[in-house]
Symmetry: C2
Subunit: 345 residues, 2 copies
């Protein structure tokens, strides 16, 4: 039951725990332990399958070799995939991951942050909720290694890894315009977070650059907290209320999913009655008939960079700020076609 400790090895090797600790931590040379003794200790450790007690080590060194991962929703396709790669990458450096979902709720985020601090994680990967500025500021000032994802806080310079939201949305709008669509609606969240703003800005910029009208009434904002049914209802109402609507952009993957459902419920045909683009890819988009055109995020690269940036801080005490922005890719499928006739609505 009981694990074997440094003491056990010391006793069997006929040396002190100090010496064992030095050797096992690769400081044999530095501390000038004889080759003979080192080898003996290493052999013994392997034979006894010695596993250092992380708690004891952590108590002494203040390091837990654990990172905290705070996402919006671990069950969401995007975050679940990021979580998977983050775990794999962190493992390469000997770190484990503690996770939690905020539901984009400030108090949940605060609770998670508190628990992770209490658990003494060595570093944080955080998807900030609205108004989390104070907590992030505190973390930053305490010099805790930290990197933000999916969004950042414009007021606080920190590490972050992001997709290029502006460019992704710009490309989407331009693509629709080039296909001949003109009455283009935009569905987003009520959140004022930077990633949503940048998507909106990119989209607006493309519309402007092409001289297309994009009035307020073409924009619908859906709160994060309402149920799927309510959201679908609101989207349906919105779409019915836009005369001549011929294309619609959804600013997040779950909104895109709701959008598909809304259009189905209205009895419209995607790609025929209305073109559809969503931000962020999803199995559903790839396999839906017709396929859903989307702005895809490089999930693998995002996750790799997140861990890389965090490890840089963790290991090299490098306190230079790292801000990584990765390109989004427009994935063209059948939900947008060359527009040939007027919308049927």
């Amino acid at each position: 039951m009981k694990g074997i400790s440094i003491k056990d090895i010391a006793k069997q090797a006929g040396v002190s725990p100090t010496t064992v600790s030095f050797v096992l931590n690769g400081k044999g040379r530095e501390k000038r332990i004889s080759e003979q003794v080192s080898k003996k200790i290493l052999k013994l450790a392997a034979k006894l399958k010695y596993k250092p007690n992380q708690l004891a080590r952590g108590l002494r060194t203040g390091k837990t070799k654990t990172i905290g991962l705070i996402v919006e929703d671990i069950a969401n396709h995007f975050f679940a995939n990021v979580a998977k790669i983050v775990e794999e990458e962190a493992d390469k450096f000997g770190y484990k991951v503690l996770y939690g979902s905020t539901e984009d709720n400030l108090n949940k985020a605060r609770g998670l942050l508190e628990v992770l601090e209490y658990r003494q994680v060595d570093g944080y990967i955080i998807t900030p909720t609205p108004n989390l500025d104070k907590e992030i500021e505190i973390l930053k000032n305490s010099r805790k290694p930290m990197v933000l994802m999916d969004r950042y806080l414009p007021q606080i310079p920190t590490n972050y890894v992001m997709v290029n939201n502006f460019q992704g949305a710009y490309d989407a709008a331009e693509y629709l315009l080039n296909l001949g669509y003109r009455k283009i609606a935009y569905v987003t969240t009520t959140s004022e977070q930077i990633q949503m703003k940048e998507r909106m800005n990119g989209f607006t910029a493309a519309m402007k650059a092409h001289g297309a009208a994009f009035p307020r009434k073409m924009i619908k904002k859906i709160p994060f907290s309402i149920t799927k049914e309510e959201a679908v209802g609101q989207i349906m109402e919105f779409m019915k209320g836009v005369p001549g609507l011929d294309a619609i952009f959804f600013a997040t993957n779950y909104l895109g999913v709701f959008g598909i459902e809304s259009i189905k419920d209205l009895g419209w045909k995607i790609g025929e009655d209305v073109a559809l683009i969503s931000f962020d890819d999803h199995d559903l988009f790839r396999l839906h008939t017709p396929g859903i055109t989307c702005v895809s995020q490089p999930i693998h690269e995002i996750a790799q960079h997140l861990v890389q940036v965090l490890m840089n801080e963790l290991n090299q005490h490098q306190h230079q700020i790292n801000q990584v922005v990765l390109p989004a890719t427009l994935v063209k499928r059948e939900s947008c076609r060359k527009r040939t006739k007027a919308g049927t609505v």
Copy 2:
């Protein structure tokens, strides 16, 4: 930077660390600490925002208040959703979750188990890979709280929480038969794991009960390790090779997703040329046109039971074995209709 400790409180309260520890652990009454002293300590702790150092406590008590969650693939819809609820439920008991994905690979599972042991998690929720019997046996003998999910090891009596795979597959087959389908194919994994066997057994039993033919050649097994493209190719070949095929059952959600793609690639129409049912629900199935009929697992209940069973062991030292089997629900959508004409293939 430095957290405040029990010593700091003791000093300020003018008592010993022992007394502080007793009071803070709710043993004030039991240890007969005076009301006066207790109150003073509690107030001070709140004022100083005392947070016990979990590492120190863990080192002393051997408990980390952490559980290990080993899933097949955290990015998979089913496991991601389970992971989310597990985290929420565990949090209610003051536990955090360390997770990892096995990809159904024995060596990855071994690695995860080793790391979790080393991290001294208090309990395990495990999705066992094939041939993990020895490791599970060891864990069991060491009396570590543990509960298996999604599948169990028939040779080793342990706690587990499962969906009723037999019944789910039985219902699916019976439903197809009642709609008039006769040439029904079955796509599963090469894995011999119990959950796959039970699905197969349930399906076979229903076919038999209805006097329907179900020869070997109607069954296709796909290895877990091949790529999506290879799998889709194999499924296409298989379907083309079954003359008169009129319905097909996919034994996991990712196989169902591949199946949709395969049928699309063949240029067939789901629900018209061939009926389709998948085990396990998915956003894609709900929103696909036509909707995909499936056998849905009660994800929320599964996750709640997993945590509940683990907490029972963890807190009550209850070593009675708990085996929970939850009913599956057939969700009827448009991918299966009353059969009126011969298959078109």
